[in-house]
């Protein structure tokens, strides 16, 4: 069950993600083409507010977008009772945010 606010949150997070996905792919191609080692990558990302902000925002947008999408899939596939949907959405969103945040922290801090 998707209402107005969830719909808007999913569309706005998609808007945020679109340029970030393109930026992420461009960075991956650059890193591979230039044969950057892990040490060289970490030397660019560690302590960088820019890369922390870039991937931090990416993780936040993914957590919102995917949690709402998976909510709809779970509801329509398993007929989950409506009362479980909000806790389920929050759990998925927070789980993704923590996992992604951990990865960002690992390369930025």
């Amino acid at each position: 069950m998707i209402g107005l606010r969830l719909y808007l949150a999913q569309r706005i997070s998609a808007l945020v993600m679109a340029p970030l996905v393109i930026g992420h792919i461009a960075v991956m191609i650059y890193a591979v083409q230039n044969g950057l080692s892990a040490v060289e990558i970490l030397s660019r990302t560690q302590g960088s507010l820019w890369w922390g902000g870039f991937y931090g925002l990416f993780v936040a947008a993914v957590a919102v977008h995917a949690a709402i999408g998976v909510r709809a899939i779970i509801y329509e596939t398993f007929g989950t009772h409506v009362r479980w949907l909000d806790p389920l959405t929050w759990t998925i969103g927070l789980g993704l945010f923590l996992l992604g945040g951990r990865a960002v922290a690992a390369v930025v801090l």
């Binding site: 998707i2 209402g3 969830l6 808007l8």
Partner: protein, 252 residues
């Protein structure tokens, strides 16, 4: 199906193999019948022949027989169709013609589906016109070229046959979803300058089971016998609701 194939399979003067679902809310199954083929025979003609000649207790629903009343829709070879305007030669295949009650609705008996849920959702989407003027006021002058009127006109010819409702996979997976017909009706009223329930209807169509559940599969558009596009109407409601919310036009 090619014209040649249609001709091979359809032979007026001979017989048709037909399977009709018979049963009730507790269950049922397909029964086989042999029906004489006729020129320009519709699926409703086939059902009527069976009821009049082979199975007097067969229950089905129809009224106008000319595609106006929307009461004769059934599943034909697994697809929802208005049976009075569906020629047998358009749908016949290698297997017996299979006729069943509409998908996504409870069965009352045989081919008669229970439409209560369909119309309850139509009401839940505030499908009723709410007049903004009384009979004493002058008649509203509305130009057919006015953009909102043009948007309403594009969606207004719905006959409430529930073909779109039966075709919709989102309805199948999400029983609380209002469905394409109810939301299409709401869109026509949101586009009607004479209507006085714009905000209330926007609340109704943007709530939990409303327009935001549509995945834009477009089955409603594919199967609508009147060639309407409820997916576009639902997209219009999404736009209206979202912009209204973002601009402070509504509270939800």
């Amino acid at each position: 199906m090619s014209k040649q194939r249609e001709t091979e399979l359809y032979r007026p003067g001979e017989t048709l193999a037909v399977k009709v679902w018979r049963g009730n809310a507790n269950g049922g199954g397909f029964h086989a019948y042999t029906v004489p083929s006729q020129e320009s025979q519709t699926v409703l003609d086939v059902v009527t022949w069976i009821q009049q000649n082979a199975e007097p207790t067969l229950t089905y629903r129809f009224a106008c027989r000319v595609g106006m009343c929307g009461s004769c829709a059934m599943m034909v070879n697994g697809e929802p169709r208005w049976t009075c305007r569906t020629h047998v030669k358009k749908v016949i295949g290698d297997k017996p013609l299979e006729i069943a009650p509409l998908r996504n609705l409870p069965v009352i008996k045989d081919l008669a589906a229970d439409m209560a849920e369909f119309f309850d959702k139509w009401t839940a989407a505030r499908g009723q016109f709410q007049p903004s003027q009384s009979r004493d006021d002058a008649m509203a002058a509305i130009s057919p070229d006015e953009p909102r009127r043009a948007a309403a006109n594009a969606a207004i010819e719905c006959i409430n046959c529930a073909v779109c409702y039966a075709a919709c996979d989102t309805v199948a997976a999400n029983p609380g979803y209002l469905g394409p017909a109810a939301l299409n009706r709401a869109w026509t009223l949101q586009s009607d300058v004479r209507d006085d329930a714009f905000a209330e209807r926007l609340d109704a169509v943007s709530a939990g089971g409303g327009c935001f559940n549509c995945h834009s599969h477009q089955s409603c558009m594919t199967y609508c016998p009147n060639e309407l596009n409820p997916t576009a109407s639902i997209a219009g409601l999404k736009r209206l609701s979202a912009f209204s919310y973002l601009t402070g036009g509504k509270s939800r």
